[in-house]
């Protein structure tokens, strides 16, 4: 598949502070990406640059072959679910859905109303009176009901309880199966999205740290669990990036691909090798 979005050497500075530095990354059509990074890493800045919120200091962002900056054609193909509220305060949910229908080509109003029912969202309520969770649900519904080939979601599950988050992931995957397009999901709930994203893009301090398929990333390390003294023996000479202990039971995360020999050594020490968690890897990669 071809690239839908190309970010070429993009930097953004605010005064003397660099929010993004020479970012080069491309996104393929029909894939789900996780945009990961710590607070202030530059994730939202990147999403804002893609969606014409402000101009990049250097570099260019191309959707297809067109620059996204002040380009109505390119912008009509992007839907952005912001973390902050940018909708008119006085609008009801129904008015917001109708305004999305008016501005986005092929916005599926029927599907949006159906989702509102599934999420038990009162469409007659004013947006400003909604709880944080229902604000997120409204924005999710708008994002999923558009037909845009590129959908950006900044913290989509903010304020949602576990049950609603679970429902969201199911509806999201169903939506993706019906209308495959490119999703870029920026979130801090890394472990939760690791099941739905195909590729992870990690930004750290304004720089692109890594872009890899999640499966490949998970092969960059592994966890070993078992009796504490046996785990310590196993850990000798290996690159341990995280360890946890409950009673005499210890789990360590090793930042190396697991080999056949490692499996044998672990078995001889009565240890269990389990896949690494994306979040643990992320924490290691981003410095803590």
């Amino acid at each position: 598949m071809g690239n839908i979005l190309e970010i070429n050497n993009v930097s953004k500075t605010y005064g003397k502070t660099a929010a993004l530095e020479a970012i080069n990354v491309s996104f393929e059509e029909g894939k789900i990406y996780g945009l990961l990074g710590r607070n202030g890493a530059g994730k939202t800045t990147l999403l804002n640059l893609i969606t014409n919120k402000f101009e990049a200091t250097t570099g260019e962002i191309l959707l297809g072959k067109e620059s996204v900056w002040e380009n109505p054609n390119a912008q009509s193909k992007i839907c952005y679910m912001t973390e902050k509220n940018m909708f008119p305060k006085e609008f009801t949910v129904l008015q917001l859905l109708k305004s999305s229908f008016d501005f986005y080509e092929n916005f599926d109003l029927e599907y949006a109303l159906n989702l509102a029912e599934q999420f038990k969202l009162n469409i007659g309520k004013k947006f400003k009176t909604l709880s944080k969770g229902f604000e997120s649900i409204t924005k999710i519904i708008i994002a999923l009901s558009t037909d845009c080939p590129l959908v950006l979601m900044d913290e989509p599950v903010l304020g949602l309880d576990a049950a609603v988050r679970d429902k969201f992931y199911r509806i999201f995957l169903d939506n993706f199966a019906r209308k495959p397009r490119t999703f870029i999901i920026s979130t801090h709930l890394i472990e939760e999205v690791s099941g739905i994203i195909e590729e992870a893009v990690i930004i750290d301090s304004g720089r692109l740290l890594l872009k890899k398929p999640v499966e490949e990333m998970l092969q960059m390390g592994y966890c070993v669990a078992g009796k504490s003294n046996n785990v310590d023996k196993y850990a000798e000479g290996r690159k341990v990036v995280h360890s946890e202990m409950v009673g005499n039971f210890k789990t360590i995360t090793i930042y190396e691909p697991v080999s056949q020999r490692d499996n044998q050594t672990a078995a001889s020490l009565d240890l269990e090798i389990v896949p690494v968690q994306l979040q643990k890897l992320f924490v290691h990669l981003t410095g803590d």
Partner: protein, 236 residues
């Protein structure tokens, strides 16, 4: 084109309630003034008079445009509308708002006259040889000037934030204090009056000249607005 039409419609949507409220207040004031005139003078034939429609509606448009920018700009940006399209849509909205306010002016003046309240236009009070055409042109240009001024101020406040809001809030008072002082020191009194007389066409008493001045200023304000908006960062 469809997007521009939607921009105008959505911008108008925010005005509906406040316009209705303003109309209700103006009608209530008219009826009250008629009632007071009758009760104080004891005759139904006693008339009251109102001559502030242009100024009242002009101030309403000015404040309305200050208030509506931020919501519209943020909302439309999130809907994928570019600054250029927004600017075009907003120019059309300015024209449509001015025309609709002119129609409202006509309707309100008609209601006043039906209620026996005499309506004086600003144009006929200040200028000479004023026809219906002159009143329309003058009022339209005044409304367009008010809307572009309000829009420009809201853009300045959006872009520069609190320092600009404070500057704009205190500047009229400071200017009113400084201008007479400077005028005395530099003997600018006559020059200042000459400028004011020319701008409002007070010497020539030509409403068309005043309209032309208002329209030219509106064009300058609109151009400044474009300069501000074309790279304006969206505050998210």
């Amino acid at each position: 084109m469809n997007k521009i039409k939607n921009i105008v419609l959505y911008s108008f949507a925010g005005w509906r309630k406040s316009t209705l409220l303003l109309s209700a207040i103006i009608i209530a004031i008219g009826l009250l003034s008629k009632g007071l005139a009758v009760s104080f003078n004891g005759s139904r034939n006693m008339h009251s008079e109102f001559s502030g429609f242009e100024i009242t509606l002009g101030i309403f448009i000015f404040v309305g445009f200050i208030a509506c920018f931020k919501n519209n700009f943020n909302h439309l940006n999130i809907m994928g509308v570019t600054r250029k399209t927004f600017f075009k849509g907003h120019l059309l909205f300015i024209a449509a708002a001015a025309v609709s306010m002119l129609v409202l002016y006509g309707v309100l003046a008609g209601i006043y006259m039906l209620a026996g309240v005499k309506v004086q236009t600003l144009t006929s009070q200040v200028y000479w040889n004023v026809s219906f055409f002159h009143i329309i042109i003058f009022t339209l240009s005044l409304f367009i000037l008010a809307s572009t001024a309000g829009w420009l101020i809201s853009l300045l406040c959006y872009k520069y934030g609190t320092p600009m809001i404070i500057t704009l809030a205190v500047s009229p008072a400071i200017l009113l204090m400084i201008i007479p002082i400077l005028s005395n020191i530099l003997h600018l009194g006559n020059a200042l009056w000459a400028v004011i007389n020319f701008y409002f066409a007070l010497n020539s008493h030509s409403s068309l000249l005043a309209s032309l001045n208002f329209a030219s200023t509106a064009v300058v304000f609109a151009f400044c607005s474009w300069l501000l908006i074309r790279k304006l960062p969206v505050k998210v």
